[in-house]
């Protein structure tokens, strides 16, 4: 792990402990016995529902499987009777997301069973995951839909980003009508995410080193607030910390950078190639592309998927810096933590989803819990204006050294 105190100084922390996670279970279905890989069979995406009871993944060729999900150890005991739904989308699924709870007055379904799937031909289909009915078919994108994000705080908006260089906002309370198209990027947009506490902050990442934080005023107006510069290659995936204070972005330049997006500062950099590659090497094919990053729901861990067939779980605020590693047989594409942080789901190139049980679910320190609660209400700019002792301000702003 590299700590950047100011942007010119590098300090390497030796990762001394790497433990291999061994409580692993694989979920695969229709292609179980076929060894040869064919295009279209990748599991590009997977998603947990907001309460953790359902898990959806796409085993390729346009199918989506949903199971009612518990911990990995419970899965090992006879899961054939576990309730499984299967949905056929008609086209390869490239992104999916479960909806958080929000209020929709006219419709009769509960929003927590909504599953939005983005397809390769640009359509977005929203299904009811309990019975597999198609509820909305949103088609306006002209290229692969790469990212989906629901607005937090109960507002029924869906934002989608696509390789056709646009971000579109859909209003689900208004029968899925599209309310806004943002065309300001010049390159394909690869992921987008709303901040989990503030419905006015949206982050999008894309090709050509692009990381933009938008000021999402309302559903018809969205302006770029600032651009975070620091990556050397395409940025593939982004993830917010649960208090909305940090943004982690994964890029093909072998690094994951954790930013404070409001103050435009890099907090720390997680490197997957030692030593850190020079910009020319980082800008091309270097064998260690990081394809996905996901914060855990308690804000202490980050999971990253790298092209060298390893998934690493980094513990962020702990000086021992233990990294848990899950070796994979084929390269992984996306990783997701379950809402209770017990399970890590990794979707892979050969249509298999690997579920790893994450150890060390501990009681967090009161300092960390208070910081999470305080940062949901306090933004970075306000911290410097408050009259607090400097070490407390540094701790609140996630400034190193912690």
């Amino acid at each position: 792990m590299v700590h950047l105190n100011n942007l010119t100084e590098f300090k390497y922390t030796d990762v001394t402990n790497t433990e291999f996670l061994d409580d692993i279970r694989e979920l695969s279905c229709i292609h179980r016995n076929r060894v040869r890989w064919k295009p279209g069979r990748e599991t590009r995406c997977c998603a947990f529902s907001s309460s953790g009871d359902k898990f959806a993944w796409s085993p390729g060729h346009g199918h989506v499987e949903i199971i009612h999900m518990f911990t990995v150890s419970q899965l090992n005991h006879g899961d054939s009777q576990r309730e499984r739904n299967s949905i056929t989308c008609g086209c390869n699924v490239t992104s999916m997301k479960f909806a958080p709870p929000f209020v929709m007055t006219e419709n009769k379904f509960s929003s927590t069973s909504l599953l939005a799937t983005g397809l390769e031909n640009g359509q977005i289909k929203i299904w009811d995951s309990n019975n597999g009915h198609l509820l909305f078919n949103l088609s306006d994108h002209t290229d692969i839909v790469r990212g989906l994000s629901f607005s937090p705080c109960g507002i029924p908006l869906l934002v989608s980003c696509s390789e056709d260089k646009t971000i579109k906002v859909w209003d689900l309370a208004d029968d899925g009508n599209m309310t806004l198209t943002v065309r300001q990027q010049k390159f394909p947009v690869l992921d987008c995410a709303f901040s989990p506490v503030n419905p006015h902050v949206l982050a999008s990442v894309g090709m050509a080193k692009m990381v933009i934080v938008w000021d999402f005023v309302h559903k018809r107006s969205c302006r770029p607030a600032r651009r975070l510069r620091g990556h050397n290659n395409d940025v593939i995936s982004c993830s917010w910390s649960p208090d909305g204070a940090l943004l982690a972005t994964a890029s093909h330049d072998t690094t994951v950078i954790i930013w404070d997006p409001h103050a435009n500062v890099q907090i720390t950099v997680l490197c997957h190639l030692y030593p850190l590659p020079c910009p020319i090497y980082a800008g091309g094919a270097n064998g260690a592309w990081v394809t996905s990053v996901n914060f855990s729901n308690d804000g202490t861990k980050i999971a990253t998927v790298c092209e060298d067939n390893h998934v690493r779980v980094w513990k962020l605020w702990n000086r021992q810096d233990t990294v848990y590693v899950v070796p994979l047989s084929k390269s992984g594409l996306q990783c997701r933590f379950s809402p209770d942080d017990q399970t890590l789901a990794i979707s892979q190139l050969n249509g298999i989803v690997t579920l790893a049980s994450v150890p060390c679910r501990k009681v967090l320190s009161l300092r960390h819990l208070s910081r999470l609660a305080a940062r949901k209400a306090i933004s970075s700019k306000m911290i410097d204006l408050m009259t607090l002792p400097q070490p407390i301000k540094d701790y609140l702003a996630y400034r190193f050294p912690l």
């Binding site: 208070s370 609660a373 306090i378």
Partner: protein
């Protein structure tokens, strides 16, 4: 007589090995908690049982001049949460902190080292 029986059942606040300690907030509210729970905090632990002659060691009472009672109450709830769920295989629930007290709680937690 009833008082005597109550003391036998519950243990007291006095003496070197008392079961309970007294934590006093800045506005005079006294919290009496079990000694084991209070020892979650590194600061309280060193005050009550460290080497040297802290006055708190004698009276088993710690006064916090900067921590108000609404924050100290939450800290005591955290002690119980921590002791209950450390090394426990049951699912750990969320510890709720309202945003109004979060900042003062952070400063108290920083002082108490817990």
């Amino acid at each position: 007589m009833a008082e005597d029986r109550q003391e036998e059942e519950y243990g007291g606040c006095e003496g070197a090995d008392s079961m309970y300690v007294r934590l006093v907030s800045s506005d005079g509210h006294e919290f009496i908690v079990k000694r084991d729970y209070a020892l979650t905090s590194g600061t309280i632990k060193s005050m009550l049982s460290g080497p040297g002659q802290f006055a708190e060691n004698e009276t088993n009472e710690v006064t916090f001049r900067e921590i108000p009672s609404h924050v100290l109450a939450k800290v005591c709830q955290y002690f119980i949460y921590k002791v209950r769920y450390t090394n426990s295989s049951t699912e750990i629930p969320e510890f709720c902190i309202t945003p109004e007290i979060a900042l003062e709680l952070l400063m108290a937690a920083n002082f108490l080292d817990c």
